[in-house]
């Protein structure tokens, strides 16, 4: 909690968190409150411009873009946060064990990571989408298959360094087991680094999802993520650029918000470590 209030004092963090909270509120409330459905088509309302009733206008099927953008943002957020958290969990456990075990186990575990990293990550995602079909679940699975390796490497390095510190030796002297030392003594010291890396993982996951949906292998219609919306607007880009502009803007702001938070947290944690 002490750290949370420090983060709030940082101007980057504050800006990022403000944008994020606003977007989450909109993503939750707009589809619930609005009288327009994100998926229902209406021929009478095709390709309208911005107006008080439709702030972002409507698309070629007469769906309200305002509702669809916030509905899509919700899905993007869900994919991003869930994907990043799962990646972080795997990465922390894997990296922790690899770093603490040392020697042979470490060698084998890290070579496995190298092999996973050697295959382009988009290949995994596209293959999984083809096999499991396009849905939120399979996008998250695809992101998680190779997304955790960076976190694992970072945590491994830190644990390897901390494991040599005298306090880890002292804990061994008291008779604590390996899992206990890793969980109670070493990983809490890495929490700042983990938090920053986790925050960087979220926009990466959001971006991957948007990219896939834009290519047409991500979330399938009529469900929509921000990537899908951009893809749908692409065909009429020259005639109705507004239809593409709004989802792109929201996507940019969303990713920016996470990067701001991460950058701010990095600054604050750096300050704490310097003393």
């Amino acid at each position: 909690m002490r750290q949370m209030s420090k983060f709030w004092k940082n101007k980057y963090c504050r800006a990022g968190i403000s944008i994020l909270v606003l977007f989450i509120l909109l993503a939750v409330c707009v589809p619930l409150v609005s009288s327009f459905s994100p998926t229902e088509q209406n021929v009478a309302l095709q390709n309208l411009g911005s107006s008080p009733a439709h702030p972002f206008g409507t698309d070629k099927f007469g769906r309200d873009i305002f509702v669809r953008v916030w509905y899509g943002a919700g899905i993007s957020l869900l994919v991003g946060v869930l994907g990043a958290v799962i990646c972080a969990l795997i990465g922390v456990c894997y990296g922790g064990i690899s770093g603490y075990a040392g020697k042979k186990t470490d060698l084998i575990l890290m070579r496995i990571v190298d092999i996973i990293d050697a295959v382009p990550s988009l290949l995994y995602v596209i293959l999984i989408m083809l096999v499991l079909g396009a849905s939120v679940g399979s996008v998250i699975l695809g992101i998680c298959i190779s997304g955790w390796t960076k976190m694992a490497r970072v945590v491994r390095g830190e644990v390897k360094r901390l494991e040599q510190m005298d306090f880890a030796l002292a804990a061994r002297l008291t008779g604590a087991g390996g899992g206990h030392i890793l969980w109670k003594h070493l990983l809490p010291c890495v929490q700042g680094t983990i938090l920053v890396n986790l925050t960087f993982l979220v926009p990466e996951a959001i971006f991957t999802e948007a990219f896939l949906s834009f290519l047409g292998v991500g979330i399938a219609a009529p469900a929509a993520s921000l990537g899908t919306l951009i893809r749908e607007a692409k065909n009429q880009m020259r005639i109705y650029p507004g239809q593409m502009l709004w989802p792109m803007l929201v996507l940019c702001m969303l990713i920016l918000a996470f990067y701001l938070i991460a950058a701010g947290m990095e600054q604050e944690i750096g300050k704490i470590q310097e003393g």
Binding site: A101, L169, A170, L173, H185
Partner: protein, 594 residues
């Protein structure tokens, strides 16, 4: 005429909110051809002051000054860049950090020469060789092609001094130049500084926290406390007749006092720890070689030796953190269990350890209570409902308060942190406490407090202790028996008082003589111990000390001496061998042969 004249120099560190004045209106001067000492505890602003003179402070530091005169010229302000490196140069504490690993030392010195003088590469090289010769490398040509990682700490510091002298500076600033070095090497480096001053007429500003260092080489001394110079004058005046109360305190603290030890009762002593021919090698390097010793219940055993002689490795083997390659370590008659990384250890909570650096021995993410509770519960020494009481008890035992339990380590000072490290060891009620350099990371005034605390705890609980230090002075009055280690070998052991009064092994004598006393007259009289720089080729089968020993004989180079035992004393030196014994009468009582 003073070479350097500083008037009213202040340094303020600017934070976002407040300024913090580290150096407060300091005025002093330094004379050419003399060494001026600056002494004070860590955090008193010595280093900041020196960096201000060099213009090397970070951007958030603000320097205010009336003037800094170097010779006739005022160098304060814009002129700083021009004189830095050409007329003022600096040597730092840790030479291996600021020598470049990727370049040979000859190249680095030659580059420095060329940066300040117009000359050809060949001339610069010749000059570099001269400089290396001046600082004691012989033959200098061989060392030109060496890299810094091929040299020992003392030789690195020599190379660094050569580099600092490359531009023929008028003023040389030496910031704790010997703190990272062993006592023996420290003596050599100080001798070198003294020679440089005499031969080149350079003025040296020597910063040190060690009064012994100041006393042995300086002619004038400044005493700093919290950013102010509280006393200055000739070394003799300041040391023999200190006026300021802080100076008096510093001087009285640096003379280790005779201390009441816990005296054992005579009779049968049970061994709590026994080492039989313990050996450990890392790769080709022998860390500990065939060490045998025993620690009795309720006594403090001191272990001394220069850094890298295997003391810490020995300590880690005793605790079970490292597995010995050969030999036996018996705790209470049972072999010490090696603690794996994953496996919980079963017993042996009886052996606990106090580490050298309290900063790395405390987990920054755990509160004091968290740390102590964790130790208790992990060892299953206490039930959950007893934990709170135990935490309070042990905190009071080490001189802290119960309320401190909810703080994080960074909220404590260095000395308090070391108390916390001790608390964690004590909460498990150990029977053997291993203290690995428990005070060497602390200021002198806190060192005594921590040592007093250790002695007090030992008196109360009657636990046995293994006190490890590179500084024989620390062990001298704090242990019942002492062991002297040299390059992994135990060369002498016996009752501390006797060993310190009358050393038998030549190395012990050297080690005892290398302790610097804060007494200018005696410190200057002391001859620096001469040691040959390069290691002699000697093989496995020779006395490890033979290349440096003044009493070396033919057999020392062929054979490795075994431990010879006389009463309570043991010594590994041929001077005490059976062969020599033949010449002695049967009733002969062994005394020192050196």
């Amino acid at each position: 005429m003073a070479l350097l004249q500083v008037e009213n120099l202040s340094v303020t560190y600017k934070n976002q909110s407040a300024g913090h004045e580290v150096v407060k209106r300091v005025s002093f001067h330094a004379e050419a051809g003399k060494i001026t000492g600056i002494v004070g505890e860590s955090g008193c602003g010595k280093t900041t002051l020196m960096r201000a003179l060099m213009g090397l402070l970070p951007a958030n530091a603000e320097v205010e000054c009336d003037r800094i005169l170097l010779g006739e010229k005022d160098i304060y302000g814009s002129q700083m860049e021009q004189v830095r490196g050409s007329q003022i140069s600096m040597i730092f504490q840790e030479p291996s950090v600021y020598l470049d690993d990727a370049l040979t030392i000859g190249r680095q010195i030659a580059d420095t020469v060329r940066a300040h003088n117009k000359c050809t590469v060949r001339e610069a090289r010749r000059r570099a060789e001269e400089l290396l010769d001046l600082v004691g490398f012989s033959p200098a040509g061989d060392f030109m092609k060496k890299y810094s990682f091929e040299l020992s700490g003392g030789m690195c510091q020599r190379a660094a001094i050569a580099m600092a002298l490359a531009c023929q500076p008028k003023l040389l600033i030496a910031d704790e130049p010997t703190t990272a070095l062993d006592a023996l090497v420290q003596g050599q480096i100080l001798g070198l500084l003294r020679r440089i001053v005499k031969e080149t007429g350079t003025a040296i500003l020597l910063v040190s926290h060690d009064l012994g260092v100041i006393a042995s080489v300086c002619s004038r001394v400044l005493v700093m406390q919290q950013g102010e110079i509280v006393e200055e004058g000739q070394v003799e005046d300041v040391f023999y007749l200190p006026e300021h109360s802080y100076t008096k305190e510093l001087i009285s603290l640096s003379v280790r006092k005779r201390h009441a030890r816990f005296e054992r009762e005579d009779g049968e002593w049970k061994n709590i720890l026994e080492l039989n021919h313990v050996t450990k090698t890392f790769g080709v390097q022998e860390a500990v070689k065939e060490v045998s010793l025993s620690i009795h219940e309720g006594e403090i055993f001191g272990l001394a030796g220069e850094s890298g002689c295997g003391k810490t490795t020995l300590a880690k083997m005793v605790t079970g953190l490292i597995k010995p390659d050969a030999g036996q370590i018996l705790y209470d008659g049972n072999e010490v269990e090696v603690i794996g990384k994953w496996k919980k250890r079963r017993g042996q909570a009886g052996i606990q350890m106090v580490f050298q650096s309290p900063a790395s021995a405390l987990n920054p993410a755990l509160t004091v209570r968290g740390m102590l509770e964790d130790a208790l519960l992990a060892s299953k020494e206490a039930r959950k409902d007893e934990v709170d009481g135990q935490v309070c008890r042990v905190l009071e035992q080490v001189g802290l308060k119960g309320e401190d339990a909810d703080k994080y380590p960074h909220e404590f000072s260095g000395g308090q942190k070391q108390r916390l490290v001790l608390a964690r060891a004590l909460i498990l009620r150990p029977r053997l406490l291993i203290c690995d350099e428990p005070v060497s990371a602390l200021d002198i005034s806190i060192q005594e407090q921590i040592l007093d605390l250790l002695t007090e705890v030992q008196n109360q609980t009657k636990i046995a202790g293994l006190l490890i230090s590179h500084d024989l002075d620390v062990i001298k009055y704090r242990s019942n028996r002492v062991g002297i280690m040299y390059q992994g070998h135990l060369v002498e052991s016996g009752p501390t008082e006797e060993v310190c009064r009358l050393p038998w092994h030549p190395y012990t004598k050297v080690l005892l003589e290398s302790v610097l006393t804060p007494d200018p007259f005696r410190a200057r009289k002391r001859k620096p111990v001469s040691r040959i720089q390069s290691k002699l080729e000697g093989g496995q089968n020779q006395c490890p000390f033979a290349p440096y020993c003044g009493y070396v004989r033919e057999c020392c180079k062929r054979l490795r001496p075994q431990m010879y035992r006389f009463g309570e004393r043991e010594v590994a030196c041929f001077l005490y061998s059976q062969e020599q014994g033949k010449l002695r009468s049967s009733g002969y009582i062994m005394g020192s042969q050196i």
